[in-house]
Amino acid sequence: MASTIRVRAQANGTNTEVQALIQHPMDSGFVKDSNGVLIPPHHIETVTFTHAGKTVLTANWGPAVSKDPYIKFSFKGGAKGDDLTVTWIDNLGKTDTLAAKIA
């Protein structure tokens, strides 16, 4: 099955800029379906980005993060061809991970 994680990581010599888009409903638990029944909360809790064995960002998310969540950040270092690993875990214990190549 296709990964839920899309990554665009660009090294510019000094820093690596990372953008990630994750396919996830991020249901807040406050929205009702067409039958008037509350859709239970189903949202990512943590996203971890690692490079060369080191964590470069940990995102702690609540239900207020938008559906199909997006994140952008930069870290020092990183070179073209390096792996950047992204892993998320949601409140139902589901998870996905992707090792993307830095461009």
Partner: protein
């Protein structure tokens, strides 16, 4: 906030009157009158929004409002339609059970052809939209038709639109009285008030283009279909032209027609022809 100028409304009403031949009995449409309609339509929007480059009308509300544009540009750094685009590409390249594929149903294998839709099929005497063509292709090859409005239909049309990104709309009206009648029907639909709110498409997308309706900025009608299918934040998912026509009808409190209804296809034909020259900007994102 700038006070509403009297000029745009007068110009819009004049445009409508002109196109509907309000001055006298409507002459039968011919290619020349359709071309004149198109010129009047485009001249109206160019003079209404003189600072907007012609191609930028493909970006709808973002062409006419800087604050909305900034939010759109942030979202476009990594557009949420990315997943649908991938799904569409994979589906497009997957063979049917009978060994054929979508490429067999379209000119140029279906790559870079979106700007030619809809077209008038002189054999069957009807307007064919891209969505309808996809389902006709499926049925001709023993596959079940896809539901319209969202899901796989949106993903497939997203991929086909992406292969046409930047290509200008090139809608043709053949010299055939049925094609001209379909064009005229679409035009009439566009300018006819309907529903409890008594709005026509033109009320908002010509008369009030660029202005606010509550939190939204109304897109100018010229080129308004260029960005479809769209990931609309309001839906949290993809939607085709059908989805927008039906949902807009419902929101205007008029009875929505079924997707791909003849009236909607004629409307799409008229609206696309009015946008000739505006480049395809789909798939797109909208509020």
């Amino acid at each position: 906030m700038k006070p509403r100028a009297a000029f745009p409304r007068c110009a819009a009403l004049t445009l409508a009157a002109c196109l509907l031949g309000a001055a006298g009995p409507a002459p039968r449409a011919d290619l020349a009158s359709a071309a004149a309609d198109q010129k009047a339509f485009q001249d109206h929007f160019k003079s209404r929004f003189p600072e907007v480059p012609f191609a930028d009308f493909a970006n709808g509300p973002y062409a006419v409002n800087a604050a909305m544009r900034k939010q759109w540009e942030e979202i476009m750094q990594f557009p949420p339609y990315d997943f649908a685009l991938d799904e569409g590409k994979t589906a497009f390249e997957t063979k049917f059970a009978n060994g054929k594929s979508y490429a067999d149903c379209f000119a140029n294998g279906g790559i870079g052809v979106r700007q030619d839709f809809p077209y008038f099929d002189t054999k069957s005497g009807e307007v064919i939209t891209l969505d309808l063509a996809i389902n006709r292709c499926r049925e001709a090859n023993g596959e079940k038709p896809l539901p319209y409005q969202t899901g796989m239909m949106a993903s497939l049309t997203a991929y086909m639109a992406e292969t046409s990104r930047g290509k200008p709309f090139a809608i043709k009206i053949p010299d055939d009285p049925r094609a001209l009648a379909a064009y005229e029907a679409g035009k009439k639909y566009f300018y006819t008030r309907r529903g409890q709110l008594n709005f026509s498409c033109a009320t908002c997308h010509v008369g009030a283009a660029g202005q606010r309706m509550r939190g939204d900025i109304l897109a100018p009608a010229m080129g308004i279909l260029a960005a479809f299918p769209i990931y609309r934040s309001d839906w949290g998912s993809m939607g085709t032209i059908d989805r927008r026509f039906t949902s807009c009808s419902a929101q205007m409190r008029s009875e929505p027609l079924p997707p791909q209804d003849v009236a909607y296809r004629n409307l799409e034909y008229f609206l696309s022809y009015m946008g000739n020259g505006v480049p395809i900007s789909g798939p797109g994102t909208r509020p």
